[in-house]
């Protein structure tokens, strides 16, 4: 009971406090956090060029991307953590459910998040899909979000889900937005016009 009252008080305090904004800058800025509707294990990042993204480390899926700001951490950094961060800006990309890569026949391949590397202009996400190491490098320039994929060698068939959005260097998406991929390096470029610009 005491804890419940405390939480309510902290929530109220969080509502009254000014925002605590993480601002996009000239270098990649990462913030691990819980984001509503995505995951408790998000890698959020603001990229130079005006794009922010949220990558779910639990499913290894770029869940959404937006412009116009990054995150308000006010609730998270109030009290014991009265609530999750709030996305600041307008979304232009929301991925369909599930990860973007299918390696092998399974529609639900196992994934494992391995970590990330930050450069000044790029965020390099590292994970495995069906045991195959994948590097997904994110950058933003010229009014678009670029996702460059590098896959380790595999004999299994590979498909990529574009979400009916942007262009893919590896081929044309077919039904459901899926494109068969035969190369081990390709790029998915998403313009900032999809949902907002």
């Amino acid at each position: 009971m005491k804890s419940a009252v405390l939480i309510l008080l902290l929530t109220a305090a969080a509502s009254a406090a000014p925002p605590v904004l993480l601002q996009p800058g000239e270098a990649v800025l990462v913030q691990r956090c819980l984001l509503p509707d995505i995951s408790s294990r998000v890698v959020a990042a603001s990229l130079p060029g005006g794009v922010s993204i949220a990558f779910d480390a639990a499913t290894c899926r770029l869940a959404t991307a937006w412009t116009g700001g990054f995150l308000d951490m006010k609730a998270t950094w109030t009290g014991r953590g009265a609530g999750p961060p709030v996305i600041i800006g307008s979304k232009f990309f929301t991925a369909p459910p599930g990860g973007p890569l299918r390696i092998g026949a399974s529609e639900n391949p196992p994934v494992k998040f391995l970590g990330y590397h930050t450069g000044k202009e790029k965020l390099e996400l590292r994970y495995e899909v069906a045991g195959v190491p994948v590097t997904e490098t994110l950058s933003s320039a010229n009014g678009s979000l670029t996702r460059r994929f590098q896959l380790a060698e595999t004999k299994e068939p590979v498909r990529f889900q574009t979400g009916h959005c942007g262009t893919l260097t590896a081929g044309q998406p077919g039904p459901g937005g899926w494109a068969p991929v035969t190369v081990r390096e390709f790029t998915h470029t998403i313009p900032l016009t999809a949902e907002a610009k």
Binding site: M1, K2, S3, A4, I7, L10, T11, L29, V30, Q31, R32, C33, L34, P36, D37, I38, S39, S40, R41, A45, A57, A58, M73, A75, W77, T78, G79, R80, G81, A82, G83, P84, F113, L114, G115, Y116, H117, T118, G119
Partner: protein, 486 residues
């Protein structure tokens, strides 16, 4: 009433003799929010400071540089190399590296995340500490309210609601457990029964000790020996593991009581601690005073430092807690010794509350080289205790039974939050046997009560043989789990 009086005595005693140790407050740049979650030194002498806001700052010679950023409540770190540290975040244990040596980390490698962090406000990950073989140990706070996690994985019916906007994720695992991650990356659940275990420490022999906080199933704050496979008291963790229960809160309390391993030390609540944080063994080999091999314990609510001297009796760790130092600017959350033997204390009180006006910060405790007059150890005998002092005591006062006041009490092991102090019983001193050198005295009490009884001692009117210096702290609290073997 008795509690308040004891606290006043402790405060008076500690403040009277802070001449041997001084607290220096470190100036923090205004743009740095230093809610300290972890402390450790890089080999080149930079102090790394992780924060609850997820940054890691490097400090050397008054110069601050942000070493890493973007972590999810970094409640501990352990330096593992020239430009490398392993950090506990809520969702994972992460190896962070400054791979190009420019003073700013760039590589974040996930070492372990098997507990499936679900986003609950109380799902902290504490640690890590590392043993000689390179294994990391951490603890996972449980939701610590008496309902089985498996039945409310999405918070329905929980006493404590989810954060606003929370989206159900797969049910968390291993809450209330400590775990080990091997150098090869294997995740191994270690010991269960934890509640909000905000502190880990390893002895040189590899014994893991964990502090935990008063609440359900913990009548007061504790320091526990945590060998592999131990159950330490809170049933939530029994939802997982080799002997898991689908409804651990339905396990009868007497069964839990039989199964649990009792805390090595209990901190009398409000008297000597109210919210225990990190235990750190004094490995300074005398550079921090006459307490080598003993433990210093951060105290978050009362903004103090406590000292613990353990002994192994009849196969189990137990021992005494002593007040050590008060007057920190706010809650002491993390500790680390520097190479020169001084002690750094990282602090925060956001959301938890503590004595002191500051919200956060960093302070430095320096010993001036003069031996403080303290009760160095309190050890159990078959009929009482032997007190050893850091300096010879004045012979007449040392031999006077009236100068030793003892009583004993215990706390309930039950589902309710905390416990009143129970069974408080005066313990007359039957005889006093001072050592000829004045460094120790045996107190004969007669029959002793084991099973977690706390013996509270107050020493009055005792001064050093030379200089008539009073005791710096005159109280001790011994947790008696086991009597010596016959």
């Amino acid at each position: 009433m008795k509690t308040a009086a004891l606290l006043l005595l402790f405060c008076a005693a500690a403040s009277a003799a802070e001449d041997c140790y001084r607290i220096e407050t470190i100036a923090v740049p205004p743009h740095v929010s230093l809610e300290v979650g972890g402390l450790d030194f890089l080999p080149d002498g930079r102090l790394l400071i992780s924060t609850r806001r997820g940054e890691i700052w490097a400090l050397r010679d008054g110069q601050w540089k942000r070493w890493a950023t973007g972590l999810d409540e970094a409640m501990g770190l352990c330096v593992t190399g020239k430009n490398e540290a392993v950090v506990a975040q809520r969702p994972e244990l992460t190896r962070i590296r400054d791979s190009d040596g420019d003073g700013e980390a760039d590589t974040y490698e996930t070492l372990a995340d098997q507990w499936n962090y679900s986003g609950h406000i109380y799902e902290w990950t504490f640690g890590p500490v590392r043993d000689a073989a390179g294994n990391f140990y951490c603890t996972l706070a449980c939701w610590h309210f008496p309902k089985p996690p498996a039945k409310h994985a999405h918070y329905s019916g929980a006493e404590i609601g989810p954060p606003a906007g929370y989206v159900p994720n797969p049910a968390p695992q291993w809450r209330g457990w400590s775990f080990r991650v091997t150098p090869q990356g294997a995740f191994e659940p270690w010991a269960s029964g934890l509640r909000s275990p905000n502190g880990l420490g390893l002895s040189p022999d590899g014994d893991l000790f964990i502090t935990d906080n008063q609440g359900e199933y913990f009548g007061s704050c504790v320091m526990m020996h945590a060998p592999r496979g131990a159950f330490l008291g809170h049933p939530e963790g029994l939802a997982w593991g080799p002997d898991s229960s689908s409804d651990p809160f339905a396990v009868p309390l007497p069964d839990l009581d039989k199964r649990r391993m009792r805390p090595a030390v209990q901190f009398p609540y409000g008297i000597a601690g109210q919210s225990s944080s990190q235990p750190l063994m004094d490995a300074s080999a005398g550079k921090f005073g006459p307490f080598a091999g003993q433990w210093f314990i951060g105290e978050q609510t009362q903004s103090t430092l406590l000292r613990v001297a353990l002994e192994k009796v009849n196969g189990a760790w137990q021992g005494a807690v002593f007040p050590f130092m008060r007057g920190f600017q706010c809650g002491v959350n993390r500790l680390v010794f520097a190479a020169d033997g001084s002690l750094w204390a990282g602090q925060t009180q956001r959301g938890w509350g503590s004595v002191g006006a500051a919200q956060e910060g960093l302070q430095h405790v320096v010993w001036n080289g003069q031996t403080p007059f303290e009760i160095q150890t309190m050890k159990l005998t078959k009929t009482g205790f032997v007190l050893r002092f850091t300096q010879p005591a004045e012979a007449k006062a040392l031999a006077n039974p009236a100068n030793y006041a003892l009583h004993h009490f215990h706390y309930a092991y039950h589902r309710a939050y905390g416990s009143p102090l129970l069974g408080d019983t005066p313990t007359p001193v039957q005889a006093v046997k001072p050592a000829p050198d004045g460094r120790s005295v045996e107190l004969v009490l007669g029959d002793l009560a084991a099973g977690g009884e706390i013996y509270a001692l107050q020493v009055n009117n005792l001064t050093t043989a030379a200089g008539a210096k009073p005791l710096r702290n005159n109280a001790a609290y011994y947790t008696l789990n086991r009597l010596p073997a016959p």
